[in-house]
Amino acid sequence: MIPVEFVHHRRAGILLLLFSVLAFTSMSSKVDPYVLGLKTIGWYIISPEIVYTGRFFNQLDSLKGQIFRLFRVDGENFLLRKENSRLSKMELERNALLEENNHLRGLLDLKQKNFAEGVAAEVVGRDMRNWFQAVILDKGERAGIVLSAAVLAGMPGKFALVGRVKELSETNCKVLLLTDALSAESAVVSGKGDVALLVGQNKPWLILNFLSPSSQVADGDVIVTAGLGGIFPPDIPIGMVSDVYISKDGYFKSARVDPFNDFNSFREVLILHRDEKLGEEPK
């Protein structure tokens, strides 16, 4: 008879012995039908768990792949956005440079062809409260600018008058725009010879006053400088007639003139050297 206390104290060793006997029996009798049967029963019990777990792990694997793909796509998206932003910025810069280049080329072309004594200048400021009245240019006396010099702007081949130099300092000057209500210049209807007074309205258009009632002026006629008074050289384009009507007093015709230049947008101008022999600035 084996004492209970003996078994209790040595239960670990006894269990190990038992497990070892079982394991070695299995190992040594691997082809024995009993062992194979035992294995088959064990497999029958655990195989469903293995199958379901395998499926679950497959889904997990797929999810993992999708998450990684999502992160990769997100990263690519971020890089592409960055690249897109950079390219957009470059495109904007390129367009701005192209536009500026065209302006400068046009100015240079005009200067070479027609007004050899002109000076190109850049608009550096505007009268904020009176948008249609004055602009500030970055050239002054030092560049040979004189008072009342004509200021032109526009696209290549479409240069037109925008105003005249009103105030002058050494390094900059202020230009009174044609649209200013104080601006009044003699102008002529191109091809028809009608001379009249072009007056600013503090609005984006001008009014051609004191046209003869018999004038043949019509919509679409081009208005150019008359060259009278010695301020501006003749035949500088100004704008186009968009409406003709009888003035309020009934004695003259008047016409609305839309300038060729958009007074909101020009950034480069050409300042013509005024011919001193032509005359002094009007008071």
Partner: protein, 167 residues
């Protein structure tokens, strides 16, 4: 009842952890022997009986899943659990360095024993000893601390730890 529940739950969770590590953590065709580490941890924390019982049954599951020598894993894991339980009074298993040494020793002992048993029972079938030893050691060193920590928390949760020490 609580003891039975503990055994069943631990057995099932350990089995799933091994499946998980087989699937997602294998390297060069060798997966971590998570169950070996758990058996050793249980042996160290609760004594040889707990270690060898878990070792035998988990090993049996591995044998059922495998196609090689039936009984090999059940014997080796039971032996590992018993050995760890017997050594628990002599090794300060709570120290990280001791745990790493245990992991390395376990990998070496397991691979050596498996090789010997293979040679003994399966004539002509060679086991990849070196690869198993190197990758197994790497995994054991990597995971042994985590497994010991997890086992400690798990046993504390079931309050089995204390009961085993008292008994």
């Amino acid at each position: 009842m609580s003891r039975f529940l503990f055994f069943v739950t631990t057995f099932v969770i350990g089995f799933y952890l091994q499946l998980f590590s087989d699937r997602f953590m294998s390297f060069l065709g060798v997966s971590p022997e998570i169950l070996l580490l758990f058996v050793i941890a249980f042996g160290f924390f609760c004594g040889p009986v707990m270690g060898e019982v878990f070792g035998f049954f988990w090993g049996l599951t591995l044998d059922v899943m495998g196609v090689t020598l039936f009984g090999l894993n059940s014997f080796l894991l039971a032996l590992a659990g018993y050995g760890a339980g017997k050594l628990r009074q002599r090794v300060a298993s709570e120290r990280p360095t001791a745990q790493i040494a245990i992991g390395l020793a376990a990998a070496f002992a397991y691979e050596m024993s498996a090789l010997m048993l293979h040679r003994l029972f399966l004539v002509g079938v060679e086991r990849e000893f070196l690869k198993g030893l190197l990758v197994g050691s790497f995994f054991n060193v990597l995971l042994v601390r985590f497994v010991f920590y997890l086992s400690d928390r798990w046993l504390s949760l079931w309050k089995v730890h204390q009961k085993e020490i008292e008994s």
